[in-house]
């Protein structure tokens, strides 16, 4: 079943100074099925983040539409967008975006508080999430008191505690060392096995090798995609790297 349907999305930025238009995304179409773990890769400036922002409903497409669970984004009014985001989407960012004014626990509970969940319900929900991510002992600490990896796991907890239909991750391993990265990706994998749908934008072939499918994007268009099939992580990694070298033939630079 298709959970997310991106059809013919085009995004044009009007440059302020020059009277020029910049096409960030052009005719991007793809579907994500329920339970998939999709990675989107592409060089800097290829439009990955723009695409993610549109899927995240933080930005609107110039043309085309995005549908989640059959509901078209263009049909949602501006006022309802943030509520929609809170209910259906979970976010993980490269720079964690935790609030220093809250303890980890309160950071994780933030979306639930915003949707006025009863206290008992919140207390009940946080236990399994924190346990799965291995941060149950850190809940009382503040973001500035824990490591980057721990912060990111708290951010993941915040993303999943609302039981969203889709988890969006923007370079989640970008600010982490390799051990914390592996750890976090393990968490994503576990979430995926539980049935969560994940869409992750990344630079790193290693991070992408945890996904079940990788989309390659270049100059605002989908360039190619590969499925994991029966490959293990290592074999899939090799294939991703091979694909990246094809992608960068045109001179594009991939980390």
């Amino acid at each position: 079943m298709e959970l997310l349907k991106v059809s013919n999305v085009k995004k044009i930025y009007n440059m302020k100074l020059r009277m020029q238009q910049c096409v960030a995304l052009n005719h991007v179409s793809f579907d994500v099925s329920e339970g998939e773990f999709v990675a989107i890769m592409g060089p800097s400036g290829s439009g990955k983040t723009t695409l993610l922002n549109i899927i995240a409903s933080l930005d609107r497409a110039t043309e085309g539409d995005v549908m989640l669970d059959g509901k078209s984004f263009s049909s949602i009014r501006d006022r309802e967008l943030s509520e929609f985001r809170r209910k259906h989407l979970g976010f993980v960012f490269q720079d964690f975006n935790l609030l220093d004014t809250f303890s980890l626990k309160d950071n994780i509970l933030l979306p639930l508080v915003l949707s006025q969940t009863p206290i008992a319900e919140m207390e009940r929900r946080i236990v399994p999430v924190a346990k799965m991510l291995g941060i149950e002992k850190l809940l009382a600490k503040y973001p500035y008191e824990v490591s980057g990896g721990e912060k990111q796991r708290a951010a993941v907890a915040r993303a999943v505690i609302t039981e969203p239909r889709l988890i969006l991750a923007d370079e989640p391993t970008g600010a982490l060392d390799s051990k914390s990265s592996a750890n976090l990706l393990g968490n994503f994998h576990a979430l995926n096995i539980e049935g969560k749908t994940i869409l992750m934008v990344t630079h790193s072939a290693f991070a992408a090798s945890y996904a079940s499918r990788v989309l390659f994007i270049r100059d605002g268009e989908i360039f190619s995609q590969i499925y994991r099939g029966d490959n293990d992580n290592h074999a899939f990694f090799e294939r991703i790297v091979a694909n990246l070298s094809v992608l960068s033939d045109g001179g594009a630079d991939i980390a």
Partner: protein, 569 residues
């Protein structure tokens, strides 16, 4: 060559950070300008030529010293406040390869340039507005015409010495700031979270007790003499209590709110309470300072204003009859009658008319402090005189005429009296010279009060301004995160607005509470100056409070614009 490099770096720093440096220079200018004016008035003989100048000059003398001390500490406080914010920048210099001594040189240049510019502007302010303020002063103290305005050269010297010492001290403090820590420490210094002290709750309770005791004591004092004696002690107690309550008290309160889960986990309160934690941790000290400064401002201005406006009240309180000539109780009846006719002749010569209304006499015993000349004790010794009133060794009467003729009359009356009764140590107490003295004293006081008001206000406004800027930068990141997590921008704006309002209006509210409790002790204190008019004192306090609130709101509105420009949502 190399020197010019540091100078250029300092100049470009000032240009780049003009948002903070410009107000700093302006404040320096105001403080130095006002200081120069007070000093100039005190040291110039323009005022000393005036008959009443002696009182005013002495007052200004004292005022100058106190003002200098305040200015000194304020400048150091503001400097520390600013330099604390720039630690990251110094860390960056270190990483870019500037040695600490190089950074130090840049800082000294910056300090020299800003203070120098401020002082030069201050001199210009003093020269431009000085004449105007001088005219106002002359009018307020009702000095006779002929006073000239000029700033004595020695005033420049004193002002320069003061600001030179401020320069030396602040430079040393800034150097220490750079010297003590490594680049990494400096870079990360802004992000460190603060641990709350374990003694927070006991300290808060102590602060509350201090404040309560001070309030209670201030409210219950009856004796004017006691009020004057303990006022400064109570003021210090209140200042300490204010600081404690703003720092520990606010955090303890917020903690208690956070512990109440039903309250805390409501969308509105959730963001607000945790946001206030951060704000109070960072701002408590400067908010307490704003509160203390505002209170000082209102007390000073309202007190001096009451005295100035209450003068006629005080004068007629002390002098129900315009003149009381005391010639000693054992004067012969005939001598008294002769003296009366001599006075009548003198009045005619001076072109004034005398009268004595017996209805003003009273048998009511006055308060211990008042020695009203219309009080008649039951065993008073009377001498019947046809025109004026005489009993118990005092000749009492009212005078009608212009101020100048009355003063001339009083002075010839003095000569007459001492010639007539050389052995009785006679004494003429009159409302006219008292009025002249009074205007010099209270006019000078009000003038000084206004200057102190300007000083406190300048510092308060500066602190508010810097708060807005720093809050703006911090809120910007918070705003972005909250939006990403699923709050709509209206909600975010509303909650942040509310927090900012709280931060700015807690000090204002506290100031007004302080003033409520200070009003009674202030009225008592003013009684030592014979000012018994409660209504006047209260309306002065109320009026000054109202004007201050308006001023505060205006400053808030203006600085809020800068805040929104930074946050730019």
């Amino acid at each position: 060559m190399l020197k010019a490099f540091y100078l250029r770096l300092a100049l470009s720093n000032i240009r780049r950070n003009r948002k903070t440096f410009f107000p700093y220079i302006l404040t320096t200018a105001i403080i130095s300008g006002v200081f120069l004016l007070i000093g100039g008035l005190m040291l110039s003989d323009g005022l000393a030529n005036i008959p009443t100048g002696a009182t005013a000059t002495m007052l200004f003398n004292f005022g100058l010293v106190v003002f200098g001390i305040f200015a000194f500490f304020f400048m150091i406080y503001i400097n520390n406040f600013l330099i604390g914010r720039r630690k990251r920048e110094f860390g960056l210099y270190g990483i870019l390869g500037l040695e600490k001594r190089h950074v130090a040189r840049v800082l000294v240049w910056e300090n020299l340039l800003t203070l120098g510019a401020g002082v030069i502007c201050g001199i210009i302010i003093a020269l431009v507005f000085g004449r105007l303020l001088f005219l106002v002063l002359i009018k307020m103290i009702r000095a006779v015409p002929g006073s000239v305005f000029y700033i004595a050269p020695s005033a420049y010297t004193i002002m320069l010495v003061l600001f030179l010492s401020i320069f030396v001290i602040t430079s040393l403090l800034n150097l220490r700031q750079v010297r003590v820590s490594s680049p990494i420490e400096l870079m990360s210094s802004e992000k460190k979270g603060e641990k709350d002290s374990k003694l927070m709750i006991p300290i808060t309770i102590l602060g509350a007790i201090c404040l309560g005791a001070a309030y209670y004591y201030a409210w219950s004092i009856v004796q004017p003499g006691t009020a004057l004696g303990v006022f400064f002690l109570l003021a210090i107690l209140v200042i300490i209590a204010t600081h404690i309550l703003f720092t520990s008290g606010s955090i303890a309160t917020l903690r208690a709110l956070r512990a109440n889960k039903r309250l805390y986990y409501k969308p509105r309160n959730f963001i607000a309470i945790s946001g206030m934690f951060q704000r109070m941790r960072q701002n408590a000290k400067s908010l307490a300072t704003i509160c203390v400064l505002s209170t000082m401002l209102i007390v000073t201005v309202a007190g001096t204003l009451s005295l100035y406006l209450g003068q006629e009240e005080m004068l007629s309180g002390m002098h129900p009859y315009d003149i009381n000539v005391r010639i000693g109780k054992d004067a012969e009846e005939q001598a008294v009658r002769d003296f009366e006719s001599a006075i009548m002749v003198l009045a005619q010569e001076n072109g004034v008319t005398l009268s004595a209304d017996k209805n003003k006499l009273t048998y009511q015993e006055p308060d211990e402090l008042l020695n009203r000349n219309n009080y008649v004790s039951p065993d008073a010794k009377w001498v019947d005189t046809p025109n004026l009133i005489y009993f118990d060794g005092g000749m009492r009467f009212d005078v009608d005429g212009s101020d100048e003729t009355c003063l001339a009359f009083v002075s010839s009356l003095r000569t007459l009296t001492s010639r007539t009764f050389p052995d009785n140590r006679p004494f003429v107490s009159d409302i006219f010279s008292a009025r002249q003295e009074g205007y010099a004293l209270y006019g000078g006081l009000l003038f000084l009060g206004a200057f102190f008001g300007i000083l406190f206000l300048a510092v308060t406004v500066l602190i508010i301004y810097f708060k807005q800027i720093s809050e703006g930068y911090e809120d910007k990141t918070q705003f972005v995160i909250l939006q990403k997590v699923g709050m709509d921008d209206k909600q975010v704006k509303a909650t942040i607005n509310r927090q900012v309002l709280w931060v700015f209006f807690i000090p204002l509210g506290m100031t007004n509470v302080h003033m409520v409790f200070a009003s009674k002790i202030m009225a008592r204190m003013l009684q030592t100056f014979m000012l018994y008019d409660w209504g006047l004192v209260l309306s002065c306090i109320g009026g000054v409070c109202a004007v201050f609130v308006l001023l505060y709101l205006t400053v808030y509105r203006l600085t809020a614009k800068i805040y929104y420009r930074i946050v730019k949502w």
